[in-house]
Structure formats: structure tokens, C-alpha cells
Subunit: 340 residues, 4 copies
């Protein structure tokens, strides 16, 4: 089958690889319908966990093609999205509903195991990790439901937004935009988004942001602190992923507020306690769990969550050039047609 794989150096390439096969009675094989990608995936090329030949892509929609004998929750022909955080359902952490901490799982799809930018993909613990797509949704409407959407959901949820709260989102990439959509489920007074890129802020506008701050022109710390009658936001979601955005979030939030760190961080960043310790903050950080994916899909189906602006143009799996061409801030997620 065709697959988009890491070439071991610094790029993708299309290869003809063997189709995946069932390896355990709890596995399922999906025929992939479409996947998404984005320019930021390329930072994985520097991660030693990503081996040459790895099929990338944690985020896709598929149809169940084959199931192991122990699989009971899905059947051949079901349309599904896989959870980005593979989880076994039985370990110390799964018993507590903390899927991302699963001792036999975690993020592996398109990272330590093959993902979905291919014609077929294998899913472990299929009963636990596959979610049915409502009939009313197109493949594209569902494609973010395994990863970007629940990441935004968790970013908003962990922010502990109360009705009437003022919320700021730092970073308007796919995760930040999904957080924007989900923050609205908590009845905020105002959601303001900041980013350095004008194209991203336009997307935030289209998705209903109450305000945007172009950090390339305005000091975002000053702008965010003016919110909420000058107290600063009640909740800040850090969806940027840099030391600067982490610091901005901590400094901008009002005393007693909550910072939800949902962007991926893998370095040692300074926490400026001298300035923020006395603010009595709650800080939540981490991966997506995905435990609310069925609810999120229902809300997309009901028209209460509209993620369309996050999706960019469509490109064939084998069209590497098209893929490169489409990468841009206006296209947070390029949609990959895995059957072409």
C-alpha cells in the first residue's frame, strides 16, 4: 500500500509498504479515509523515537476493515476515529480515567508506531481506542476528533472556565483554534486570542473570537492584562509551545487564575516565581486524554462545534509537492486523501 513515511533524514517520502496485519486479538485494521497533517509535524524528525520508515500521522478517520477475535465494540464497516492516546483500559492509570498515562500506551500512533497517513492502519486495543463517527458527519468534519479537537477540549476543560469568565488563548495554531471552539462551551464572557501571525488571527476571527491581539505589533502581556477590567484573564490557555508563550501565560493571568498548558513542551523553561508565585495560580499541563471524544463528536454533529476553519486544502497522499505547497498559516491542517 502507499504510505507517507519519514525518510530517516529530514523529509517525508511516499513508499510502497506492506499492509498492516492483526497482531493481537484486540487489534483492528482500519481502511483510512482521510488524515490531516501540518508543518509543525516536522519537528518530529529530530525526535529519536521516530525511526526511519515510520508512517506518521496520529489523526485520521477510517472504516473498520478487519478485527481481532476479542474485539466486540466495533464491527467491520464501522466508520471510526482512533484515540491519539492509545490506552489499554485496565492499568493503574486507565482505571482512574487517565488514558494519556496508560502504562501500555500513550502517544504511539505516528510516533513510536505507525500512524494513519497510509491506506491502512493498525489500532491496538480497538474496543478502547475507536470512536464511532455519527452518520451525519463527513470524514473531514470528523477527522480532528481523535487528537486536535480533544486536545482543545482538554485545554478548555482544564482551564476550569466558569460562566462569565474572561479567557485568553496564547497561540492560534490548530490546537489553539480548537481550544477557542471548545472554550465557548463554558459560557465565557470573552475569549481573546493572541498570535504572531495575522493569517492565524483571521482564522480565530472566523471562529468567533471576541478579540485578537497581534503580538507582532502589540505587547501581548500589556494587552491581555487590560482584560477583565484590568485584572487580566481569569483563565489563560497556553497553546503556543515556546518559553515566551509559557511565560506570557503565567504573567498575564489574573491572581487566583488558572493556566492550562496544552501545547507540547519538551525543554526546561524558567518559571518566574519571583513575579508569579504570589498570584496563587493553578497550573494544569499535559497531553490530551481524549475521554470526551464521543461528546465532542456529538457536539460537532449538532452544529455546536464548528472546526471547519482549521482545515485547509485537500491533497492526495502521494502528492508530496502539493503537500509542501499547501503548508502555511492559513492552512493549519492540510487534509490528506489517503485513498488517492
Amino acid at each position: 500500500m502507499n504510505a507517507l513515511v519519514f525518510d530517516g533524514d529530514d523529509d517525508y517520502e511516499v513508499r510502497d509498504v506492506p499492509e498492516p496485519e492483526l497482531e493481537a486479538p484486540t487489534d483492528a485494521i482500519l481502511e483510512v479515509r482521510c488524515a490531516v497533517s501540518s508543518g509543525t509535524d516536522k519537528h518530529l524528525f529530530d525526535d529519536p523515537a521516530v525511526e526511519e520508515g515510520r508512517i506518521l500521522g496520529p489523526e485520521f478517520v477510517g472504516v473498520v476493515h478487519e478485527t481481532g477475535e476479542a474485539v466486540t465494540a466495533v464491527e467491520v464497516g464501522d466508520r471510526v476515529v482512533p484515540a491519539t492516546m492509545t490506552h489499554c483500559g485496565d492499568c493503574f492509570y486507565c482505571e482512574r480515567g487517565e488514558w494519556a498515562n496508560c502504562t501500555d500506551g500513550g502517544w504511539e500512533l505516528g510516533y513510536t508506531r505507525d500512524g494513519g497517513r497510509a491506506e491502512y492502519a493498525r489500532i491496538r486495543y480497538a474496543d478502547e481506542n475507536l470512536f464511532h463517527v455519527p452518520d451525519g458527519l463527513s470524514d473531514e468534519e470528523a477527522v480532528l476528533a481523535g487528537s486536535s479537537l480533544p486536545t482543545g477540549w482538554d485545554g478548555a476543560r482544564r482551564g476550569d472556565i466558569d460562566p462569565g469568565d474572561t479567557v485568553a488563548i496564547v497561540g492560534a495554531g490548530a490546537i489553539g483554534l480548537c481550544t477557542l471552539a471548545c472554550a465557548d462551551l463554558y459560557g465565557p464572557l470573552e475569549v481573546v486570542v493572541t498570535d504572531l501571525l495575522d493569517a492565524r488571527l483571521e482564522l480565530a476571527d472566523r471562529m468567533g473570537a471576541d478579540g485578537t491581539v497581534d503580538a507582532s505589533e502589540t505587547d501581548p502581556l500589556e494587552a491581555l492584562r487590560e482584560l477583565n477590567d484590568g485584572h487580566g484573564p481569569d483563565v489563560v490557555v497556553e497553546a503556543g509551545g515556546f518559553e515566551e508563550t509559557y511565560e506570557l501565560a503565567l504573567r498575564a493571568v489574573r491572581p487566583g487564575g488558572t493556566v492550562s498548558v496544552i501545547a507540547y513542551h519538551d525543554d526546561t523553561y524558567g518559571t518566574p516565581f519571583g513575579d508569579v508565585w504570589s498570584k496563587n495560580l493553578t497550573v494544569e499541563w499535559g497531553y490530551v486524554d481524549g475521554i470526551d471524544v464521543p461528546k465532542a463528536l456529538s457536539l460537532v454533529d449538532a452544529g455546536r462545534l464548528d472546526l471547519d476553519p482549521v482545515l485547509g486544502e485537500r491533497v492526495a497522499l502521494t502528492d508530496i509537492e502539493g503537500f509542501d505547497r499547501l503548508e502555511s498559516p492559513e492552512n493549519p491542517k492540510v487534509v490528506i486523501d489517503t485513498q488517492r
Copy 2:
């Protein structure tokens, strides 16, 4: 001054009564701008706590006319709404944020003390009980903020609605409609309203209900139990006030769900444990607290809460006949122009 008072028998009458005066250094006198009333107020005529000559009306907007010497949070000329639940701010309950349980307060405006259907009204513990109205709001847009709106807010809040939940509201009077508006702040998948009166359900439609059940034509228990894929609503708010509506709420909610009883109940009603005990319910019941009034006013000001359909036609304080004429399901709250 003119005031609409209980005649001691079974009706209102307009009387010329003395203007209220400051009685404690923490008092304030308001010049009332407008008040609201509804047909259901008349059940108070049977309550022994309501004496002949009482000025009714817990729900109004006014401008501060005079303040006691200990009042610091409001000034003459400020436009304000009073909290329906008078609270002292210092007792065992106020320290816990439970205003409705205040040992020197509770519901007294228009009940055990004079209310606001008059040209002037006295407010006790003014610093605690008056909320500023944002400049952008008309008197009418703010008039429900002291009582009906926070009752609906508390009804929704105590329902503990999670994003994606299915919610049912039993009863589409002013309280039920305000609950409908506020439920939307919690990201529900679907909010369905049931009532016996078609005119009320039309108002629910106008306010954005996802569905309505006309209980005069359809068995509401059956209809509500079909929701949520046949599990029944995750949350039911009882805003009806009858034994039948209380039972409906308990029977309709799904196992493990929450029933928020926000309608006023003053009788002994049967709780059908035989049918519902094993459902492991959480039941919340009680008065409004009003602790979130400032947030509610901000959300009205931002256009996120629209209570306009709850308000009916406008009538002069002295126009008793007009008042009777306007009482109807289409007019959940008649607006009283207290300066005419």
C-alpha cells in the same frame, strides 16, 4: 408616593403611602425605575407572612436616592438592581457564600418587608445587596437580574451540566425560561423544555430551545425518557412547582443524573423511592443565592444572555386594570413603569 399593595383580601390596590426612610446606617433608598410582576404572585395572598398593605415585588431596577452613612459601595445616582435574597454579609451562612440562608435576611423584599412596586424602596445592607447595572443596558434589560435571572442561573448551575449533556427543563414560566437561557452557558448538546401551555413553549422556541414537549398532548415522561439515546436527560431542572412536575423530573432523569429543583415548593410531596432510589440521583433544591449576579449582568451586556422574550407589555404602576388585562402565558413578566 404611589404603591401597589396587598389589600388584605385577595387583590392588589394602588395606595398613597409614605415614602420609605433610612432606618440603619447600612440602608439605602432607591428611586424605582421599573419593576416586574406576574400572575403567579397572587399565590402570596394566601401566605400569612404577607400582611395587608405590603408593597409587593422583589424584582426591580432603581437609582440610588439616599444612602446611610455606612454605605460605601454605591453612591447617589448609581443605577442598581437589588438582590432578592437580602443578606448581611457576616453571619455563619454569608461567610460560606450561602446568601439565601442568611440569618438576618433571606427573602424579605415584597414578602416580609416592602418591595419595589412603588416609587421608592428601602434596601437593607446596601453594600451587600445592590449590584451596578452596566451603562449599556436599558432598565428593562436589567430588571430580571435580581431574581428571575439568578434563579435560572442557579437552576442551571446546580444541575451540574457538563458540555455535551442532554438537559430537560420542566416548566416554561419566567424561571424556566431564564434557566433555558443560562443552561446554554454550560455547553449542552440539547435542551428540551416541557410545559402544558403552548404559548409558553413558543417563548421557549424563541429563546433557542432545541426541542419542546407539549405535555397537554404528549406524555412528557415518555418523551423525555427517549432523549439521550433513550437513557433520559442527564440533567432535569424542575421549574414547575407541582407534585406532578417534581415526580416527572425524578422519573425522567437518567440513572446517575442530577435533578435541580428551582421552583418554589411548600407542601409535602411524595418522593417515589420505589422507582427512583436505585437511580443514584443527585437532587439539588432551593432558593436562588444571587451570588453570580454581576457575572450574569455582564453576560446580558455582552449579548450572551437574551431574556427579552420573558418580558411582556409595559403598564403604569397605577393602571390596575391594565395589569390584570396583560396577565397571560404570553406575558410571563409584566413590566411595571413605577414612575407613572
Copy 3:
């Protein structure tokens, strides 16, 4: 094998019945070590769900004797307690952690299916429903961990006890006493127990109650309302099971407090809204979930929960007379030696 069964009339009898067999790949067969019983079990004889010949007893300890091929979490020889609320792990409710509402389970052990007062017992969904007993515990120390202990745990947990709260427990049967032990895990200022039977109150004393109210001598409503500086208890756990105890709980709790109804109720009881509606109560009622059984077992093992006073004398499974002889308030739970 020997089993203690319902004779179809109004008593138990010992019968020689076939040993249970595996019926599904997720089943396990336990060799029962010991079970417990109490006089109140006899109310089940009137319940049409309990058929003639039913082996009673939801509460026992056993050793895994045989497992279905799909069972992975326990092995032959493991010492375990079964969850009273059988749950499948995969349904709408199990996904939400609401085991008691499982659509393919709920209370069935010793009720709608055979229980554990026998030499062997079959457990459905063994991976979900069996909990390992720590080595340091005797069979008797673990025997309440499947039902009475988690019921008391849930009774206390649902009461939402904050450190420093005043707690009252209505009813000092096995459930009430287990609630007493568990309430202490929430840092209460004072836990007071009321019952009609002096022998029960002596057990409460032995288990560390800070006070007891003998309702046969003192008006319990008056006595409980004097607690908490005259405000009444912050939390009342109803562990009695009668309309009188339900009413007592509602009337005694302070305004704004929480009533946790953990006793079994199967009738329609009057809820005196006229007296308690304005108290703004939270009421939680329902079955045990059992989700915290592993934690509860750890705390027993660590000596932080001591349930010894709940257990009465030991009797052989076949000694029906001894069993009747031991039933008494001093013996909330008679321990049944299932291998004699």
C-alpha cells in the same frame, strides 16, 4: 455443594445444590472462604425478584477456583472479594464510572442471581468485578469490602464532608457503622450517631463516634439540631431506611447542607418541602458503586479503617439454628464459615 437458600416461603434452608459452572469466557468461579449475613436480609423474602432456591448473600471472600478463557486480571488461587454491583465495564454507565447503573449488571449477587452463602460462587465479568485482598488481611477483615464497606464509603463521600464539618449518621446498623468509619477519612470536627437501639450505639462508641443520641429516649431532631453551634449538622447520612429516618435527616441538616441517603428505600415517602425547601439542600441518594474498593482495602490493611465491631460471631454455613440464635443488634453481621 452446601448452600444456604431461600425456601420460597419465609426462611432459609441448607440444600445440597450443584456447583456453579463457567457460563461465559469472562466468568470466574470462586471457592468461598466466608460470607456475612444479617437479620435484615430477610426483607428480601418478600421481594418477587428473589426466587425459591436462590442462594443469598452479596458479601463474601473467596479464592479463585476457575477462570474463563477471557479472564486476565485474576488467576486461580488469588484471594478476592466480588463487587456487589456487577458491572460490565463497557456500557453507557460503566464508561462514566457509574457501576451501579450498569445496564448488564447492578445488584444481582444474592438477589437476581446466586450469591455467596455456599461453597462456590460464579462471578460474571470477573476482570471488572473481583478485587484482590491484601495478604496482610484475614478473610474476616476483608469480608465487608465488597458491599458494606463501600456503601459506607459512598455514604460518606457523597456527603461531601469538608474538614471541620459536623456530621450526623442516622442509623447504626452495619451500613451506618461503616459510614462512621469512613466519615473519619474526611477530617470531620464531630461525628454523631443516632439509633433506637442501645446495643448499636455502643458499637458506634467502640468505633469512635464523638457522640451518640439514643432516639428511644431523646428527640433526635432536637438533639441533632443543637450540633454545630445550633445550626444543625453540615452533613447528615441517612442509613436507617425508614420514612421517619429520611425525614429526620432532611429536617436536622443545616440550611445549605448535604443529605446522603445510603439506606435502601423502596416506597414513596413524603418529602416535607414546606419545611425544608428553603434550606437549599443537596440530597444524594442511591446504591453503592464500589469504585473505591481497592483504596478501601488498602486503608483497612494500613489499619486506618477498623470494621471489627461490625462483625459478630462466627457460625457454620449449615448451622441454621446457630444463625438464628446470633441475630441481634450486637451482631450487625454474622460471619458465615462457608466451608463448614
Copy 4:
């Protein structure tokens, strides 16, 4: 009057200073009964907010000596402890119960304003900031209730300890020891304390720690990670105040756990996201609020909180030499007799 003041250089000295006077109608003057101090107070000498001549000491017990005319909650002769976090009761933050963030208060006693190591002390907003001491308590039993005890209480509370959780406390100074006492109110399975000083760990032993780790001999990270069946503690309270202890807390806690940072931090510390981001942590940090002081005092009065080991020997206010002599790990808090 005599007062122990900062000499402007690097030490304390005893001075004869004017008695404080009422400056606002909401003030009260206390006759100080006793105060506490500790060696670590001396780090304040480097803080520019602490001026020459400042009377240090946020933590003391006194008797009300004089009250402003607006004070109603305390009377002359009442024995009280002041809240360390002065709060006005009316600002944006006080309305939310966030006293430590008060815009007209915060930590000022013995910091930006005179504290209690003197014969008399002035308290602002006396109605808000004074708590009555139960009659049954000695001055010494109550002296920690304004600051160290509620800091430990908040440290435990923010850790969100569930019954059965494994807790680690990093640092066994006065704050860590108070946290140890308060952690027990949440029903933990096990509370383990680590410190570098053997004398401190002995105090932790005396206060009921389930285990101690001497970090001068054993790698504390390794030792803490072995807890909880090798998952690491569910909750870690950072009561040390160094970059090393902050890092230890983050690295030791189990995935999905909570870190409560209660020690004072005023520098920029590295947060090792590379190692801990994927653990999905909740981190709470900040000052004490003190909102639960009345409950804490009640629990001390009831014998449920015993802080005696935290208190060291007693010294006269004027005995500077004795004061220096007593500073030691065995004496976390030296008790100062302010009337000698």
C-alpha cells in the same frame, strides 16, 4: 512599648517605640499575648519592602484592646488571632474568597506594616481579619492559627488529597509539619516526609508521619518514586522553597498527580518540561488564604490537630540573646512572650 524591630542592617534589636493607634474606624488594637519566630525570618532583612525599624512578626495571639467605631465583630477583651493575609472583604478578589489577592491587603503584617513582636499591634479591617480563639485553647495552642497552620491547611487542601492517596511532603520546617498535620484530615493511606535535617524528621515522626526520607543519606527522588507501588506519590506538597525541592516535587509525583507548592519562592526556577510535561500534572502554588482558620481552630480545640511539636522553647521579647540561642532545627518556631 517594647518591640523587636529590624535594625536596618542585618539583625533585630529591642526598641522602645510608640504604641500603635487607631487610624481608621475599621481598625483594632491588640494587646499581644505571644508571638512566634524562626530563623528563616532573617531572609526578610534582604527584602527592600522591609524598612529599618519595622516590627516583624505576622504570627501572634492577642486580646482586643481598642476598636474603631465601625468594628462590630470583635469586642474589647476578646482573644483573637489575626489573619496573616490582611483583606478588605469587598474587592474583586475578596468577593471571590481569594483573600491573599486582596487589592488593599495581602501580606503586610510584619512585612510592609508593623507586626506582632511587640506589646501592642494594629490590625486593619478588624471585622474581616480577626478570628476568635476558643476558650479551651492556650495562647500557644492558638498562636500558629493565623499563618503556619492555615498555610499547611492550604498546602494539603490544594493537593486535592483523596482518601487512600499516598502523599509526600518535601521539607519539614514549620510549614511542612503543619501540612503533615492537615494532610491527615483527608484520609491518606500514607504520608511520607523528606528533609535534609535529622532533627526535623524526628519532629515529623512525633507528628505521625508514616515514613521519613533523610535526603542527606538517601536519594529522595528514588525513595519517593518507590511509593504507591512504584508509581510515585499521588500528591506532593513542596514545602522546601528551593529549586531542588521544586524539581524534586515535580519529578517524584506520579503521572496525573498534583503538586501543591506552598513554600515561598521568589526566583526564576527551571521547570523541567522535558521530563514532566507528559505527566499531565496539576500544579497549585501560592500564599495561604486563611479562609478556613475558624475550622482549623475548632479542630485544634477538638484535639484533631496537634501542632505542639512545631513550637519550641519560650523566650522573653526583650531577650535577644535567648532568641538567637534557641534557633535550631529542633525549634521550628520559637515562642516569644511579648509581655516580658
